[in-house]
Amino acid sequence: MALYTHHLPKWKKDEVDEIKRGIGEHSLVGVVDMYGIPASQVQHIRRNLRGTARVKMARNTLIEHALNEVGGSVVALREHAEGQSAMIFTNENPFKLFKLLEQTKTKMAAKPGEIAPEDIVVPKGPTSFKPGPIVGELQQVGIPAAIEGGKVKIRETKTVVKKGEVISKKIADALVKLDIKPMDVGLVLQAAYYKNTVFTPDLLVIDEEAYYRNIVLAAQQAFNLSVNAVIPTPLTIGAIIGKAVREARTVGVEASIYEKDIIDLIIGRAQREMLGVALAAEAHGFELDEATLK
């Protein structure tokens, strides 16, 4: 394969060399899909990634050339370079890169034939349209449009395309008119090569909620352990004292130890017991006096 490179025109050779340099200078090399991203947005994404990651667009054949020439396990990225690919270089860790790329995605209008990434919902409420043929066009694709107060209004919230379904031309047109942008457009990471391992997106999705829950759980466990095992720390000493005091008070009440601090609790307990017996006695025919009933 390497031999074949000799016959590449100079501009192609330069491209391959640039990719090779990128691979050599960064700890992480990724392949991203750039399908359907308008040029203006590519500029925007590049700006957002500046200082963190570099995007190098190139033909798939040249990417393959470069990977082959570098050789080793990075060659495995080859099979992910399909469609409109680009290389991405960074020294961040693959999980961070994935998050970063997710954050650069923006909402765009749907083109006919695209697949809905999630349920596409038209919310109810007024539109900016004056009455006209628009009402019929919307109704035709199942959007409950009506005229109210001289304006076109959507009568109720409606799901027009389910997740995974193809978006038809008529619906795409209607969505554009309603300014609904259902498509997530941005760099889609196909695979990332990092320290001899190829990470695919399914490995890189992070459930931050789960981490948060685990942090809360760990903090609770630490709190519980500290209090239950009586390991005083500034954070838990109050709870430990509380536990000891409650135990002492409970023992005092249970054993009827007549001490000032808990005598009111003992009185309360006696009072409740008396009421319990009084009600039982009443149920069996003993008439309670007014004071008891109160």
Partner: protein
């Protein structure tokens, strides 16, 4: 309530809740004893499991106290 307390006192001390005993306790406390009430109490408690009534009061105070139960939904 004095009558009930007298009964509880006797029960807790392991004594029988009889008319004589209740009357003796109440008198010792300086209460002017009504014989009829003592009779009624002793008769009523004959069919009551006092320990159960006490433990119910301790475990589920809400159930034991009508006033408390009524207040609960508002709390």
């Amino acid at each position: 309530m004095e009558y009930i307390y007298a009964a509880l006192l006797l029960h807790n001390a392991g004594k029988d809740v009889t008319e004589e005993n209740v009357t003796a306790v109440l008198k010792a406390a300086g209460v002017a004893v009504e014989d009829a009430r003592v009779k009624a109490l002793v008769a009523a408690l004959e069919d009551v499991n006092i320990d159960e009534a006490i433990s119910k009061a301790a475990v589920a105070p809400a159930a034991a106290a009508p006033a408390a139960a009524a207040a609960a939904p508002a709390a």
